[in-house]
Every structure is written in C-alpha cells, then in structure tokens.
C-alpha cells in the first residue's frame, strides 16, 4: 500500500505549494532583497546598499515612536477586547436567570444582542473609520459625540477628540475594540456551546454562582480559544493602519501621537518614494509580529482538559 504514496501526496500538494510560494513566500523573500537596496519604486533599477536601511531605521526616532504606539495597542487592545468578548459571551450563554427545564440560559434577548454585537464585523474597516471620524467631529453641533455630551449637560467633557494629543490614540483604540468585540462574542459563544452542560449542572448543584462558574469552569475550558484570539488580536493591534490613516489628524498626529509602524511604512514608500527603506520597515514589523506570536504561543500554553 505504501507504493506510490509520496507521488500521490506530491501530486496533490504541488500546485497549492507553488501558488503559495509565488504569492506568499516570494514577496517575503523579495522584501528582504529590496530592503538591502535603495530602490525608489519608480524605476526598474536599484543600488545594493547592504544593511544601511536597517542602520537608518535603528536611529529613526519616528519609527521607534510608531513602534511604541503599536506596543501600547498590543497591550491594551487584546486585553480589553477579549475581556469584553468573554464577558458578553458568558452573559449571553450562561449568565441569565435560571429558568425551568434549562440548566443554563443567557440573559433575556440574548439572541438579539448576539446579532447586534456582530454588526461591526460585517462593516468594512474603511466605513467604520469614516463613521467614527464623524462621531469624533469636534464641532459642538455637528459632532455626534460632542452634541450628545452637550445634550445631557456634560459640556465640560466636550473635546477635540482626535485633535487632542492625549486622547487621540485612546479614541482610535476604542474604535479598534468596538469593531472587534462582536467577533469574539460569537467565537466564544460557539466555544461555550461545546462545553458539556453536565459540568455546569454539577457546579450549580454545588451552589456555584455566576462568578465562580465563569472563573472555575468557563474560562479554563475556553483557554485554547482565548489563546488563538489573543494572537489574532495582537496581530491586528500591530497593524492598525486603516484606522490611523483615515481617522488620525495629519497622518498619525497630532504631532505623531497616533503614528503606527504600517503608516510609517506607507508614507516612506508612497510619499517619500523610498521603497528599499520601507521594505526594511516591513522586515522589522515582521520580526516584531513573529516574536509576539511565538512568545504568546510559548507562555500561554496550558494543560489541555479533555472532555
């Protein structure tokens, strides 16, 4: 039976592997190659400059500033998003009042909420950014947030939002979180559905409340899913390009307060026509993202509970 097995496998794999190599691997490899040149992106010729681009990058304060903001996003966004996602999913599936004939239930109207939470996920990120940009409009009459604050008498909280150096990054973070929570509610809901009901039943018989049920049963059994979500959210936080490019004042401003690595890369490539240097930034981003993913997978590993 072993005869011809490898030929069989190769026959099936060859085409997808070639496609993958050309469209995924080769751009990666070429980014390395281009990062060692001074290619402008406008003509077909480039000069080899060795590691000069990386040296410049190391001394580029703007890039470190952008990287720092990505790290802020990396710390805050996944934690808040996943915590909210878990909380909502728990309330929608387990957190309701006890009813007849059912061991666990969600809060009233949970089906409707689940539907609503998922909304932002179906809207394109560009549209989300444009909508929120207008919500943050500083005009006290035209800006949705400011006029809302004014209407309830909280005029003192009215602000320039994205134009305020200390608030701008937080404003963008909030949108990032808002637009992703819904997906995790659905993801965690699906994972919760696969937890056997008898475990909950046993816990309830022992008198566990919502709090204990969540921390002793739901969370440990969801750990794998949470971990995947963490990596995924982390990679989103290390990007943030679309939101920052569309929403931020003066492209990553005010005064660089919302700058992120991909935006730096974009401006270097398309505004300054320095594709070689921009490729070096791409490589740096790849290293940061990979380090994050590897570390997360390493340190978040726990014993798996079979059920």
């Amino acid at each position: 039976m072993q005869h011809g097995k490898y030929r069989f496998i190769v026959g099936f794999l060859a085409l997808p592997v070639i496609v993958y190599a050309i469209f995924v691997i080769s751009p990666f490899v070429q980014a390395f190659q281009i990062s060692l040149t001074d290619w402008s992106g406008l003509v077909g010729t480039a000069k080899f400059v060795g590691f000069e681009n990386f040296e410049r990058l190391w001394n580029n304060e703007d890039f470190w500033n952008a990287l720092r903001h990505n790290v802020y996003l990396l710390i805050a966004v996944p934690i808040v998003t996943l915590a909210l996602g878990l909380f909502f999913a728990f309330m929608l599936n387990v957190g309701g009042k006890r009813r007849k004939n059912e061991v666990i239930t969600g809060v009233a109207g949970s089906k409707f909420y689940r539907f609503v939470f998922f909304f932002p996920q179906v809207i394109s990120i560009t549209i989300i950014a444009v909508i929120w940009f207008n919500i943050y409009n500083p005009d006290p009459n035209d800006g949705m947030l400011n006029s809302l604050l004014g209407a309830v008498g909280l005029d003192s909280l009215q602000n320039a939002w994205l134009g305020e150096k200390s608030l701008a990054l937080l404003c963008i973070m909030a949108v990032m979180i808002w637009s992703h929570v819904g997906f995790y509610v659905v993801l965690f809901s699906a994972a919760m559905a696969s937890i056997p009901r008898d475990i909950y039943e046993a816990a309830l018989l022992d008198g566990a409340g919502r709090f204990h049920t969540f921390f002793r049963i739901t969370l440990p059994l969801l750990w794998d899913t949470v971990q995947t979500g963490w990596v995924y959210m982390g990679i989103i936080a290390l990007d943030g390009f679309a939101l920052v490019q569309i929403m931020s004042v003066n492209m990553g401003g005010p005064d660089g307060a919302t700058d992120v690595m991909p935006l730096r890369l974009y401006l270097t490539a398309f505004r300054d026509s320095q594709f070689g240097y921009a490729s070096a930034m791409g490589i740096a981003m790849l290293i940061v993202t990979m380090t994050f993913a590897v570390l997360t997978m390493r340190f978040a590993r726990r014993e798996r509970i079979e059920f």
Binding site: Y20, V29, S40, V43, R56, N159, V249, N250, G253, R271
Partner: protein
C-alpha cells in the same frame, strides 16, 4: 524591458503586503507553521526569487533618445505629429476640481484624431501609478495632483518625464502666430522646470490667502484688515460678537502654512524665503519675519481667536463651519469656491484677501499675493503616445477649454487673460482681481513641493500645537530649524536649489 514588464506591478506592493495583508492571513495558519514551511520552501523560493528579481530591475532603464522629439509627421494643424488613431490614456486627479474639464478636452482629442481615449479619474495617482512607472507602461498624460501624488523630482531625475519644450514651441490653438509659451503665464514655465528642462505643465493657477465672506464683513461694518496688528484688533471685535474669528483644517495643518509661510515671505522678503527653500542653516532662526509671523499666530491662539475644536476638523468640515458663519476667516486656496459650493449660501460673496503688512519695512509691498501654478500635468516619456499626451495639453491650453475650466471649477488657468469678458463667480472674480492688483508682486514657495514630509508632517505637527496654544512661538522656530537641518543632512532626500 518590455517582456518582463507584465510581472512588475507585483513588486512595489511588497512592503504593504508584508505589513498588513499577509500578517492577517497567516494568523490562521500560525506563525510557527509559517516559519517551518518557509524553511521547507527554501528550495522553491530560491529559483523564484531570481525570476522575480529579474523584474525588479527589469523595467525602466536608461534614457530614451526618442523622448526629445516623439511623434510622426508634423503639419500646421498637427504640430506635434500625433499619429491618427493612436490611442491615448489619461490619468486625472479627481479632487476638488473634478475631472469633467479633462473629459471635455479628451472628447476634442478623440474627435480630431479618431482615437480611443482611456480615462481614469482617481484620488490615488501615486499608489496606482508607481507600479506602472516601475513597469515601464505608464499612461500618456497624468494630472499628478492631490495628497497621494507621484514624486515628480524622482521621476524627472530618472528620465520618466517627457521634455515639453515641443509643446511650448507649438502654436496655440487659437492663434497660429502665437506659441504656447507666449500665451501661458511666465511663472508657469518657471515653476515647471527641473533644472533646464521644462517637463511639468501646471495647468491651473491657485490663489492662496485669507478667505472670507464679504457679506459677513459688510453686515457688521468691518473692513478687511491691512496689517497683522489690524487683524488682531478686528479679531477682538469679531469675538465680542460671539463669532470665532478664524477656523482651519486641523486634520491637515499645512492649510495654515498657505498663509503662514507666504506671510513670512511677504514681510521678510523673497531672499529670506529662498534661503528657507534652500534649507540653508539658520534660515528660520535668523529671519525676523519668522518671529513676527509665528508670534502673531501665537497671539491669535492665546486669545482664543480660533474656532474651538478646529484642530480636529477636516478641510471640508472647517469650510462648512466657515460657510455657516461660525468663523469669519479661513486660510485656503482658490479651489475652495468649487469644493465648498454645496454648503455655500447664495449671498455669501466669497472673497480672498492679500497678505498683511508687518510692523513696517516689509520686504514686499502691500497687496502681495501668493499665487502658485497648480494642477501639475506630466507626460510620460516612456508611455505609448507621448505626442498625443502633449497634444491633449495643447487642446487644454486653448481659450475654449480654459474658459470651460473657469466655468466648471471656478478656477484660473495658466492661460493669460483667458477669462476676459466672462462673468465670473464671486470667489473667482475676487481672486482674479487680487491677482491683477498684485501685478508682479507674486510669491511662489517651493518648500512644500520639494520636502513634503518636512512641511506637512514635521512642521505641520508643530503648527497644530502652535494653534492650540500648546507650543510657544520660540519653540516652533527652534524645532522647525532642527527639522529643516535634519532634512538638509539626510542623504536619502534629494535636494533642490532655487536662485529666484
């Protein structure tokens, strides 16, 4: 070069893919898998790499001798030698001015030469065309405008731009005795040169300045101020009425530079500004006009003369607030009349004022105006039909199309006196008058054109803080000088020099 050009468009997208898309996709696969696989694929990717690297260096190449005088047989009606039936591709920036005026000219081209014209209207000229230039198949004629425009200095030094001398020497459509160089404004020719080569045609004329509603001033019995001090006094009166004196597009702080930079040139004189354009050491710190003007803005900010929240407004939002009468003055360019048309009240009487006088001994007289040739049109030397591209520009430079432009988008063209006898819209009429009154006292600035990352990102960031009162004038000047020095030292940025 021709055979490999088809693959080229992939290459320039590399950095972006590495940065965003690929990361997301591979998240599903898992990073460790990806590393393993990429190692395993090393064997395959090596040959692929050499195949692809052939593309990265394949397109483009040396200078084309043909770029001096393209085209076929020439005649009186066809001075540029356009081949009949030769297709033309036009790539037009579709921003505040729209692209209808270009379509109208294309229609004439089509009728005259019986050729197909492929038209693209976009706001993404740079990102869309970068790969095509790298691949050696650019469109023929391009309106390279907007925030995402192509770097023309790089294109020019790399031989991608058609020398437009043939166009300048060709007869005008309206009068065969006049050459094109005779009917367009001298500053258009001056600005369109890279070195000695005229390769950019700035089709429009943009008048920069302080824009206001004449009606709002008349209703309150106010006069457009003549000096910076008068401006401060007037702002005080306006504020007493409960109206904000100024607003600006905080999202794009370089809008403020339209006035701020020009005001420095007006008070300090052009020599001082040319030193700034040339990135000379201490050009900012040693110029007293810089101090005077920046301190003026510091004062406006300290006295809260800017509409609250302006620092977060887009150009559209700030113009809308201004149209609604929430603010009186706005720094802007003459495209504003067309762009703000949907929100402008009928009796708004949009007007533009000249630069203000300083505290005496100004470098340039009262009435000095910043007027810049704008809407840069380029013809690709390595396109399929450079002669057709130039002919399209010749058509646009006819009186018929210059007037059409003024009518459609309420803006002046580089064609001198083309709008004579026309009834102009209020803003255009005001701009036209101010332009005439300024006479030879026209200011043209290069800094933003040459070093956009310096002006828009770096100085723009400082200006944003200056106008919210977070930064003092002295710090603004000090840091601006530091940023300018940093650019002067940066070898990767191509430097330019101007004499006048």
């Amino acid at each position: 070069m021709g055979s490999t050009s088809a693959e080229n468009p992939e290459n320039p997208e590399n950095p972006e893919h590495t940065g965003t898309t690929v990361n997301k996709e591979s998240a599903g696969v898992g990073r460790r898998d990806l590393i393993k696989r990429s190692v395993a694929l090393g064997l395959i990717s090596v040959p692929t790499m050499s195949f692809l690297s052939a593309c990265a260096t394949g397109g483009g190449g040396g200078d084309d001798d043909a770029s001096k005088a393209p085209g076929g047989p020439k005649s009186a009606t066809n001075p540029l030698g356009v081949e009949k039936g030769a297709a033309l591709e036009a790539f037009i920036f579709k921003g505040g001015l729209g692209d209808q005026y270009a379509k109208d000219a294309e229609a004439d081209y089509k009728a005259k030469y019986g050729a197909q014209v492929k038209h693209t209207g976009t706001q993404q000229v740079g990102p869309k065309l970068t790969p095509r230039f790298a691949g050696g198949n650019p469109p023929d004629v391009i309106d390279n405008s907007g925030a995402d425009h192509l770097d023309m200095n790089k294109l020019s030094t790399q031989g991608q731009l058609q020398d437009l001398q043939a166009l300048l020497d060709a007869p005008s459509m309206d009068d065969a005795d006049k050459k094109i160089s005779d009917v367009i404004h001298p500053s258009t020719i001056e600005k369109g040169k890279h070195g000695d080569t005229f390769d950019v045609l700035y089709y429009a004329f943009t008048i920069y300045g302080t824009w206001y509603s004449q009606k709002a001033l008349d209703d309150n019995g106010w006069q457009y101020p003549k000096t910076l001090d008068e401006m401060v006094t007037l702002c005080g009166e306006i504020k007493k009425k409960g109206i904000a004196p100024w607003t600006y597009a905080g999202k794009y702080p370089y809008y403020v530079h339209f006035n701020l930079f020009a005001q420095i040139a007006k008070i300090g004189g052009m020599d001082g500004w040319i030193a700034i354009d040339n990135l000379e050491p201490k050009a900012w710190t040693s110029n007293d006009a810089v101090k005077q003007v920046v301190e003026h803005y510091e004062e406006l900010a300290a006295k809260k003369y800017f509409l609250e929240g302006s620092q977060g407004l887009t150009h559209i939002q700030s113009q809308t607030a201004w149209n609604k009468g929430k603010a009186i003055f706005i720094p802007n360019g003459s495209w504003v009349e067309n762009e703000a048309a949907p929100t402008t009240p009928k009796d708004f009487a949009m007007s533009v004022g000249a630069l203000f006088d300083g505290s005496g001994g100004d470098g340039m007289p009262h009435g000095t105006l910043r007027a810049e040739p704008s809407e840069p049109y380029i013809v690709a030397s390595k396109g399929k039909n450079p002669a057709g591209g130039m002919e399209m520009l010749r058509i646009m430079l006819s009186k018929k199309h210059a007037q059409n432009f003024a009518k459609l988008v309420k803006s002046l063209t580089c064609v001198v006196d083309a709008t004579e006898g026309m009834t102009l819209s209020p803003g255009l009429a005001s701009a036209s008058t101010a332009f005439k009154e300024a006479g030879d006292n026209i200011i043209s600035l290069q800094l933003q054109e040459w070093y956009p990352s310096l002006t828009d990102e770096k100085i723009g960031g400082l200006t944003g803080q200056l106008l919210t009162g977070e930064m003092k004038a002295a710090d603004w000047i000090k840091k601006t000088q530091e940023y300018a020095d940093a650019v002067a030292k940066d070898d990767s940025v191509k430097k330019f020099k101007r004499e006048k």
